[in-house]
Amino acid sequence: VGMTLGEKILATASSRSSVLPGEIVTCDIDLLMLHEITGPLAVQVFEEMGFKKVWRSEKVAVIFDHNIPPSDVNSAQQMKFMRSFVQKQRIERFYDIGRGGIAHQILVQEGLAKPGSIVVGADSHTCTAGAVGALAVGVGSTEAAAILGTGKMWFKVPSTIRIEVTGEVKEPITSKDVILEVIGRIGASGALYKAVEFSGEAVSKMSIGARMPLTNMAVEMGAKTGLIEPDEVTYKHFQSLNESVEVVTSDRDAAYEQTLSFNSSEIGPKIAVPFAVGKVTNVKDAEGQRIDQAFLGSCANGRIEDLRIAARILEGRKIHSRVRLLVNPASMKVYKQAVQERLIEKLVDSGAAVCCPTCGPCLGMSQGVLAANEVCISTSNRNFVGRMGDRSSKVYLASPATVAASALAGEITDPRRFWN
């Protein structure tokens, strides 16, 4: 019996010829990512465990993103603490404020996450890196500490759900609408402990940036990870970074727990309503809901593709007077490209506040916290109670196009109204 991409990666990393779902394997980790919120706790536990030196400093990436620039003294202390660890351990893959951006964007953009490798991050959205065919999982700080010391982690080999997306996703519909549709069908815990492999014609036509929301939100249906088989698009991505990568794909006779098919031509603009990511409906059914804030950014959607589609909708128009639109490009590289493509100019002219790359608004840490009873439409990936601020505030999750259109109208709006 053949193996899925994820099974092959786990087999290789645990020096076995094959693995089966349910088996426990101990794997060598190719890359460990820490950020400034979960990192300090991991470092404290690393020391508590009695470790002195990280197993391989070149396999550790430290990326500041959650609350940058720091909004308070505690946060500044966390970064100071991590900088000192980085220096002491001679960690070269360190992305400070202004040098990197959102960790999950950096891991892919800079080619740190490679096809066929195992990437572990002390952040739940680490699964994003599955977009380039890595097996990427989120962990907590103690698990990360153990990896810092040993370079290893145990895995229970997950069974795999295959999601096949046929057709072609055509703007203003985006991959975000596709993944919301998928989560709506599978549910918030429908893929618990499983791997989710995205495939099909629609996926192969997507850029890496468009694929990333798919794998990014795998965790929102409970999945251990999301994966996409490396293909021409993947190789071109690494070629542009002067990196050669190995070919690892799923075997044609690999065993999937189930295959679910989605026809992208039947998917319209989608929205997840408060307070669960699995509560997905058509934007049409939520139209008219007044908003106070619109947020374009996060590890789900702050990429150049996202800024382009938003700028196209906002160009030559003004956002509603009652609404503030926050834009946080996913990385400094994306920011620069958006400057070069004159997207930032269009966004600012429409009334957007363009801020630096950070996770801040998505989790109510900084740069856009919601007051009592306020409503935000957001391109991010979570809409739990109090996620972006006060516990009475509400978050709706949608695509960059829907967020831009809604910012113009002052209420939740189908982006097709502004698409010509």
Partner: protein
């Protein structure tokens, strides 16, 4: 492992880690100082409920969302002795075991307990007994190394004793 005895604090499905501890408190490196904010987004009366009831019984997908280990840490620091749920989000499950807070999967948990019921958990016998109702439900067997980590009291002690994986 010793039996855990107490009364039940009942929660529903999909309790997320933002509900357990909001991100705005994660800038503190002193996790024990966070207990005053435990479950504050979800239920401002939670701290009162926790005074009496220290064994959480919940439904599906407990601990979904962010990987913040602060979530099980704050529950543990606030006095929670064990969490029995129909299933757990995987990162929360690992975090919980890694810090020595028993996370027990029991498929019938939700329908078998009400808030305030007296409960006795025997991990070695894989059972959770509702002393108030006089019923007993099974908990899912642990695979290795999960059980050994739990027996050691968490991953720090496990690795210190063993020296490696």
């Amino acid at each position: 492992l010793n039996a855990i005895v107490g009364t039940v604090l009942k929660l529903g499905d999909d309790i997320d880690t933002d509900a357990i501890i909001a991100a705005r408190y994660l800038t503190s490196m002193d996790t024990s100082s966070l207990t005053e904010h435990v479950m504050e987004n979800f239920d401002p009366t939670f701290k009162m409920r926790l005074k009496e009831n220290k064994i959480i019984v919940a439904g599906r997908n407990f601990g979904c969302g962010s990987s913040r280990e602060h979530a099980p840490l704050v529950l543990k620091a606030a006095g929670v002795q064990a969490i029995v749920a129909e299933n757990f989000a995987r990162i929360f499950f690992r975090n919980s075991i890694n810090i020595g807070l028993p996370a027990l999967e029991a498929p019938n948990a939700s329908s078998s307990f009400n808030e305030g019921d007296r409960v006795r958990i025997e991990i070695d016998r894989l059972e959770v007994r509702n002393l108030t109702k006089g019923i007993c439900i099974g908990i899912r067997e642990f695979s290795e190394p999960v059980l050994s980590i739990l027996r050691a009291g968490g991953l720090v002690r496990y690795l210190k004793a063993k020296g490696k994986w």
